[in-house]
Subunit: 467 residues, 2 copies
């Protein structure tokens, strides 16, 4: 192969792998000479070869552009599935990926409907943050993170009667990071951790990555984690930490009654066991008042690491969360410095700005009302469309419905058949490392109850009947 | 204690822990009643008690505000040092914290001088990104990350003659995350990993967290990692991965000569050993051309995971990095989904916008020239101010100088004495888990050579003489 043929082949491969898209301008002849070390004549021959093959078109006075329908573009997205086997449940990844595909009805998604959030207000806050950013902002907002934002979060705790100082708080890249760092802060590999069953799949993965041993505690769809079973586990295993959600638990939607929250915190505090509280849904309550966090029952803040974020209630995509970590705050900062360094600075500043406006509470009130109405609509839709024997939870907040299909129906089969019809669901086995919840299904009820979503529920109902 | 005294005490504690700052408006009486469940009279008594004690002031028609000098505010920052002992070297944390303190000359910092970056242009791109953000942006930019940004990065690889498809790239929260995820993707706990000695401290921490065994390979201040020693280590240990920086290595500034880069990649490829390349400084070259990445010598992309970011050359604080991971891309996405979910969306969009403008190359040219001039000025300053026997590196890019103090001088002592004078340095022991580099010092040369920095170098010279 001559030199110009080699260059043409390289450029062709770049076009095939979509480094350059149809209509993109290729590097100029002069740039190409400089990069490749080839002569102008050689580069010109390569471009002309590509032109003769229909890959590029020349525009006089301008340069070479990728042709509008270059031959043989590969199927997009195919590369992803050629990768080696990985340890994380394929369904979890597929469902997260399916959330990106607008042709799929995303009932399996964990993301709230994006239209629920105050996009223009957030945009204004981001624009304002940009104006206030200075040369030193990157360094000034290193862990524990933006001071103004931490103070606003501390004030929100204060309004719930919870004593958290701004210095107890570490701002993170979403709650996922604060939960992972908290787990690292309170455990060593090989330690025992108590979790819920079923549990948010992020818990299961974090525990596997940290090489911990998990005791999964039965968790009721109404009343949350079984405290007797937990007490029993504490007596039998050297449990070092407990990770759970006491409000609108993912996937069940369960909320632990107040007295049991108190009892749970006391039980762990007495044994010196750290409690990692994932509390990302508690702003999304339908009742008259926000259900208390477990952190509210931990007077000196030495037991509970309270993790939350703005991703479910205000600004998905900003990736700003936090942990009220009390005595663990310094350790968590150190871990963060060595894993992601800090949360993104512009979004930290934007949220600090937004919280100084008066819009957050009105937004939350609207959001809660919408989520409650949408939940009700989907709940009624399922009641109508699904066969007898299917039970449906009706949580008092959040945006998940938990279905038990009953009669030996397999949610995995439903998952596959539904996906073939363009509907994603979250089958129960995603939420356990064991073999339970085979007939469990989590549905996201945050979407508007329009013809498309109504039709999708009816289709699901048909599919359940056919199982 | 009566109820109103209890409420007053709670509010006083909040003021003491700086939940409310001097001048902040406290919650209104009505809000306070609602939150506390107390009567209006009780709340009013509490506020009046605080007023009588000088903690708050009442403003007619408006409400209660924190007094301007409430008695007995605690020393700020003190809480941080009360935490339990942690496993990460205190010096690393202290130096990162010192970077935040504008009264300290940050020669120990790893962050480039913030005034070097095109703040107004980045602000415009962020503003433009905000306008283009839609309800679905959060989901659309999940891993592997913004498609447009990945394509721009792939084009920059193409211009260096490196074949990387947009789908090979995963956008992360800075290079720190891409490095950590790469390490997780190619190792299991207990595996052996080859690293440089001295090495970027992030490597040491990531290896400890992943419970790996490290073989530290001697690395020369001029020519980088010793390939004979590496070959020897590969023969003696079942090494699974190698993590290093071949361009302007941190802390030495060393760059591996081209032929040795080729040899290194061939050596690892032949044994099927993954190479994690931390290449965050290579845009900051002083010579005529960018030194090639190790990835350039890995034709099919199956050996090298190439990690980089915009944090050192364009936008510190945005926290946007990436890894060109080839066959590992899918695995890395899965790990990311379970640790931070995704990089911040507004900053991803802003960088995609910025890279479509024509400003990046001119900015980089200016940046490289400035860094070279500042390095030269500091180098000359050190030559003048420091005693004989101190050797100074002079890397061909980046912004670190590596000093060897010689004559048994202890860099830790210098570190302590310098900090007492308001100057931070990075002592050699930060870059090893062993007992070497006791007389090594890394200095950040990215700052303008003004009176303050010149004076600081003279002070350091005096301190070295006194060791």
């Amino acid at each position: 192969m001559t030199r110009y043929e080699e260059l043409a082949q390289r450029l062709r491969r770049q076009i095939q792998s979509q480094v350059w898209l149809p209509g993109d301008k290729l590097p100029s002849l002069r740039e190409s000479c400089k990069q490749s070390g080839l002569s102008l004549m050689t580069v010109l021959q390569a471009y002309q070869l590509l032109e003769s093959q229909g890959w590029v078109v020349a525009r006089p006075q301008s340069g070479y552009y990728v042709a509008n329908s270059p031959s043989a573009l590969p199927e997009s997205g195919g590369a992803l599935h050629l990768s080696e086997q990985v340890d994380i449940n394929d369904a979890i990844f597929d469902i997260l990926q399916a959330a990106k595909d607008p042709t799929i009805v995303p009932f399996g998604s964990a993301f709230p409907d994006a239209s629920l959030f105050p996009q223009p207000r957030l945009a204004r806050s981001l624009a304002s943050a940009v104006r206030r950013m200075s040369a030193s902002s990157a360094v000034a907002n290193l862990p524990p993170g933006n001071e103004d934002l931490r103070r606003s979060i501390a004030q929100r705790y204060a309004q719930q009667g919870i004593a958290v100082a701004p210095d107890d708080i570490v701002i993170t890249s979403g709650a996922m990071e604060s939960l992972g760092l908290s787990l690292q802060a309170v455990t060593e590999p090989g330690d025992w951790v108590a979790i819920e069953s079923p549990a948010f799949y992020g818990v299961l993965q974090a525990i596997e990555r940290r090489q911990l041993k998990a005791v999964a505690i039965p968790t009721d769809v109404q009343t949350g984690i079984d405290l007797d079973a937990l007490a029993d586990a504490l007596a039998r295993y050297p449990i070092r930490a407990c990770w759970l959600m006491s409000n609108f638990q993912n996937p069940l939607g369960a909320t632990l009654p107040r007295a049991r929250k108190q009892q749970l915190v006391a039980m762990l505090a007495a044994r010196g066991i750290a409690l990692i509280e994932d509390d990302v849904y508690s702003e999304l309550y339908f009742g008259p008042a926000r259900p208390p966090a477990l952190r509210a029952f931990d007077r000196d803040g030495s037991t509970v690491l309270h993790c939350s974020s703005f991703s479910k209630c205000l600004a998905p995509g900003f990736r700003v969360g936090w942990v009220a970590a009390g005595p663990y705050a310094a350790k968590i900062q150190r871990l963060q410095l060595m894993s992601t360094l800090s949360a993104s600075v512009p979004t930290q500043l934007a949220l600090a700005d937004y919280l100084h406006q008066s819009g957050f509470e009105p937004h939350l009130r609207r959001l809660r009302r919408q989520l409650e109405l949408r939940q009700l609509a989907m709940y009624r839709g399922i009641q109508q469309a699904f066969p007898a024997g299917v039970s449906i939870s009706r949580p008092e907040g959040g945006y998940f419905l938990w279905l038990t299909l009953g009669q030996g129906r397999d949610a995995r089969t439903l998952y596959r058949r539904a996906l073939a019809q363009g509907i994603s669901i979250a089958p129960g086995h995603m939420f356990t490392t064991g073999d339970q919840f085979r007939d469990g299904v989590r549905l996201n009820s945050s979407f508007p109850w329009d013809a498309r979503h109504q039709q999708a529920i009816e289709t699901l109902g048909e599919l359940v009947r056919g199982l």
